[in-house]
Amino acid sequence: MRNKITDNNMKLEFISKSNNEAFARISVAAFVSQLDPTIEELSDIKTAVSEAVTNSIVHGYEEKQGIVTIICKIHENEIFIQVSDNGKGIENIEMAKQPLYTTKPNLERSGMGFTIMESFMDELNIESILGIGTKVTMRKKIKQTEDDEDIPVTLEEALRG
């Protein structure tokens, strides 16, 4: 039996260095794992977080050093993740969301970041002000399946009680 999770939240701040990407997605995954997500759900969330964090580091702060902030909230079986920076901001959000659109093709960016966030999470919202920063908000429902440990593995075992 696992514990029922009620509401919970955390906030994570770190320097905009790309060697913090792994640490950021592992932290979020460790937090989310309280909801007993499937491996696929967890992988989707890690990927979406990695995209948003990379964007803050590569596009938001570019060569400069700044702080990336992640806020995570669990409400019932839903996870809410907000990644924000005080970087340069996005000029045209609609354009930025287009698949393959990137302002940094020279850095081999693929322009797929927002597309991946949108398709791996249930909801994506982007707010940005030029010169002030960017705030990316994502939500995902974790489908709560029956807990393995409560399900008898074989009929025989079930009958034995």
Binding site: D44, K46, T47, T54, L100, S110, M112
Partner: protein
């Protein structure tokens, strides 16, 4: 990353062992380009068998190498894509220009011939 080079086939295989993100991709790029320039292969395969995490940085990295290899007239392929890696590559349309191949079959064929092989852990 581990590199396997088959002399006779001029085939270079990169077995990626690390999680792929914007951070790790910098090293992977540098190392792969160095080996590509050194061997001038006819064919390059990226083996994703040991990749436990990849975000969109992987797309740019593979397309970038595809261009490098194209310049010297070689082809680029990918192999052993997990579901999540495949999903990310598919979304970008990348698999239309860089096909996924069955590496096991390919290796059976190659290793049946006499083929001198070089292995380096990069």
């Amino acid at each position: 990353m581990q590199m396997n080079y088959y002399e006779k086939d001029k085939l270079l295989i990169f077995k990626i062992m690390e999680e792929i993100d914007e951070f790790s991709v910098k090293e992977l790029r540098r190392k792969a380009d160095y080996e590509i320039e050194r061997f001038m292969p006819r064919e390059v395969i990226f083996d994703f068998d040991c990749v436990t995490f990849m975000d969109s940085a992987g797309i740019g990295m593979i397309i970038g190498r595809y261009k490098q290899v194209g310049i010297i007239g070689g082809v680029t392929e990918v192999a052993n894509l997990s579901n999540s890696v495949k999903r990310i590559f598919r979304m970008s349309g990348m698999l239309k220009i860089i096909p996924e191949i069955d590496l096991k079959e390919r290796l059976k064929d190659i290793e049946s011939k006499e083929n001198s092989k070089e292995v380096i852990n990069l």
